[in-house]
C-alpha cells in the first residue's frame, strides 16, 4: 500500500528496506516464544509453587504470609527454578533486540535516506521539530532501558533514525513468537481513546499531546477516536521521532513531532484539550514526574483532560502481583519503577494543582480483547474493572476544572 501526494511522487515506506533473512526471522520467532515461555509459563509455575508451598510455609513459621515483593523475593531467591526463570527471562529480553540489530544495521543508510526524503515533502502535513542542543538528563543516560543496546535515544550518524526502527521491530517481538508481522498500532491509545468517548461523551478535544511519544504510535488510537484532532507528540529522543515522522507521513497520519524534555515544554498555557502518555512515568524519578504533571496542568485548557496509562500502584495489587511487576525494575533496567509504584497517584495529581474531585484512577478495557457486548457494562461500572495487563490497562488522570 503506497499513499500518494498531489504530485506524482510516491511516498516511500521507511519500513520497506527492513528484510530480515530466513534465519533471522526464525531467530526472532524463537525469541518471542522463549519470552512467552519464561514470563508467562514459568511465571505461572513459580506462582503456583509460591502460593501452595512457599507462602504457607512462611505463614507457619512467621505467623503471617509475606506482605511485600521484597519478602517474596527473599524467600524465592535460593530456589533454582526461580534463578533459571530469571536467567531465561533476562536472556530472552536481551535477544529481543539483538535479533533485530543485524537486519536493521544492514539497511540503516537506506532507511535514513527515506526518512530525509519524506521529511522534505511531508505529504501528510505533519511536522518534525528537533533540538540538537537538547541535553539528556542523567536519569535517561545512566542505563539502557529495557536492555536495548543504545537505549531509546542513541544516534550514530547524521539524521539517524535507526534506533527508532530497531526499537519498533524489537517491540514487535512480543510474547508469542509469530514472525508474521502484524503492526498493532496503538492498542493502548485505541483503548483509552475509545473509553474517553464513552465515559465522557460531552468531551470533544481538538488538540492532543502524547508525552514520551517515541515513534508516535500511541497517538493513532486517539486520532481514530477523535477524527480531525490535531495530534502532537513530544519525546526527548530524536531518532525515534525521525522514524515516527517518516512512518506517520507514509501512513497518511498528520502528527506534529517535537523533541523536548517533558519537564520543560515550550507550548503555551492551555494549548491542549487532551494530554496522554503510555508506559512513561515509571521510567522517571518522582521529581521529574511531579514537574511533568505540573506541565500537564499548565498546558490543559479549562475542562481539558489528562489520561496516563501506567502500572498500577503497590497498594492496588497483591504482594505476588507486586513481586511479579517489580521484577522488571531490577532486571529490565527500570530503576525508578518501584518508587513510582509506591506513590499515591491522587496525591501526585493534587500536588500538580489538579482538583482531587476531578481526578481518577481506574482500569479501562483493552479494546482488542474485550467483547463489544460487555463494553457498556464496564463503562457503567456494572462489571468490575479488568486487571492491568490481563484484559485491562490502568490509567490515572484528571479533568482540569473549567
Amino acid at each position: 500500500m503506497v499513499a500518494s501526494s498531489s504530485e506524482n511522487w510516491q511516498v516511500p515506506n521507511v519500513d520497506a528496506p527492513y528484510r530480515p533473512s530466513h534465519d533471522e526471522r526464525a531467530r526472532q520467532g524463537f525469541v518471542g516464544v522463549l519470552r512467552a515461555y519464561a514470563s508467562r509459563d514459568m511465571q505461572s509455575e513459580l506462582e503456583a509453587h509460591y502460593q501452595t508451598k512457599v507462602a504457607p510455609a512462611a505463614q507457619e513459621q512467621q505467623g503471617e504470609a509475606p506482605q511485600s515483593a521484597r519478602e517474596i523475593e527473599k524467600l524465592l531467591d535460593p530456589d533454582p527454578f526461580y534463578r533459571f526463570y530469571g536467567a531465561l527471562r533476562y536472556n530472552s529480553q536481551e535477544m529481543r533486540y539483538l535479533s533485530v540489530i543485524d537486519p536493521v544495521e544492514r539497511v540503516a543508510d537506506e532507511m535514513i535516506a527515506i526518512g530525509k526524503e519524506v521529511s522534505r515533502h511531508q505529504p501528510a502535513g505533519g511536522t518534525l521539530k528537533l533540538d540538537p542542543d537538547l541535553a539528556l538528563p542523567r536519569y535517561v543516560t545512566t542505563l539502557d532501558v529495557h536492555l536495548a543496546p543504545g537505549s531509546f535515544y542513541s544516534e550514530y550518524i547524521e539524521d539517524d533514525l535507526s534506533q527508532g526502527a530497531m526499537l519498533a521491530y524489537g517491540g514487535e517481538i512480543g510474547l508469542g513468537g509469530s514472525v508474521i508481522r502484524t503492526l498493532n498500532l496503538g492498542a493502548v491509545g485505541s483503548s483509552i481513546g475509545h473509553w474517553l468517548t464513552k465515559k465522557y461523551p460531552q468531551f470533544k478535544p481538538r488538540r492532543v499531546l502524547d508525552i514520551g511519544t517515541q515513534s508516535g504510535r500511541n497517538l493513532f488510537g486517539y486520532m481514530d477516536a477523535y477524527p480531525g484532532i490535531e495530534a502532537h507528540g513530544v519525546d526527548i529522543s530524536a531518532p525515534t521521532l525521525r522514524y515516527g515522522h517518516a512512518r506517520a507521513e507514509y501512513l497518511g497520519k498528520t502528527v506534529h513531532f517535537s523533541q523536548q524534555n517533558a519537564e520543560f515544554l515550550d507550548y503555551p498555557d492551555g494549548y491542549f484539550d487532551l494530554i496522554v502518555s503510555s508506559f512513561f512515568f515509571h521510567e522517571l524519578p518522582i521529581a521529574a514526574t511531579k514537574r511533568i504533571l505540573k506541565q500537564c496542568h499548565r498546558l490543559l485548557s479549562p475542562g481539558g483532560m489528562m489520561a496516563h496509562m501506567e502500572l498500577p500502584s503497590h497498594s492496588d495489587c497483591t504482594p505476588w502481583e507486586n513481586f511479579a511487576w517489580d521484577w522488571d525494575a531490577k532486571y529490565n533496567n527500570e530503576p525508578y519503577y518501584v518508587q513510582f509504584r509506591s506513590q499515591d497517584f491522587f496525591e501526585l495529581m493534587e500536588d500538580a494543582e489538579f482538583d482531587r474531585q476531578q481526578a481518577f484512577a481506574t482500569t479501562v478495557p483493552n479494546l482488542d480483547t474485550t467483547d463489544p457486548a460487555d463494553y457498556p457494562r464496564y463503562v457503567s461500572g456494572e462489571l468490575p474493572p479488568l486487571p492491568h495487563g490481563r484484559g485491562g490497562w490502568f490509567i490515572f488522570g484528571a479533568q482540569r476544572t473549567a
Partner: protein
C-alpha cells in the same frame, strides 16, 4: 557524529545481574540459550527446504530466503519452538 554508517552497540549499558552463585553459570546459560536458538533456527530452515521440495520439487537459496510461512505453517512452527524449549529446559524434580 563522524561515522558514515550505522554501527549499533551489542551490549547493554548497566550492570548485568547475576542469577546464580557463580558468574560462569550465568555466562553458560547465555551459551545454552543461544545454542538452543541456533538449533531451532536450523530446524526451521530444514522445514522450509522440506516444504519447498513437497510443493515444487526443487530448492534454491533464493526460494529459501523468500519463503514466507502461511498462518498454518507459522502456527506449527510456534508449537515446534515451544516444544524445543520444553525439552531443552526440562527442570529436575516435581514441584
Amino acid at each position: 557524529m563522524t561515522d558514515s554508517t550505522v554501527k549499533f552497540p551489542r551490549h547493554t549499558r548497566g550492570k548485568r545481574p547475576q542469577f546464580f552463585e557463580s558468574p560462569e553459570i550465568d555466562q553458560m546459560m547465555t551459551f545454552i540459550v543461544e545454542l538452543t536458538t541456533e538449533v531451532s533456527v536450523l530446524s526451521e530452515r530444514l522445514n522450509t527446504v522440506e516444504h519447498l521440495l513437497d510443493t515444487r520439487g526443487t530448492i534454491s537459496r533464493e526460494d529459501i530466503e523468500n519463503f514466507t510461512p502461511d498462518a498454518a505453517i507459522e502456527t506449527t512452527r510456534m508449537a515446534s519452538r515451544k516444544a524445543i524449549i520444553e525439552r531443552v529446559f526440562r527442570m529436575h524434580g516435581e514441584r
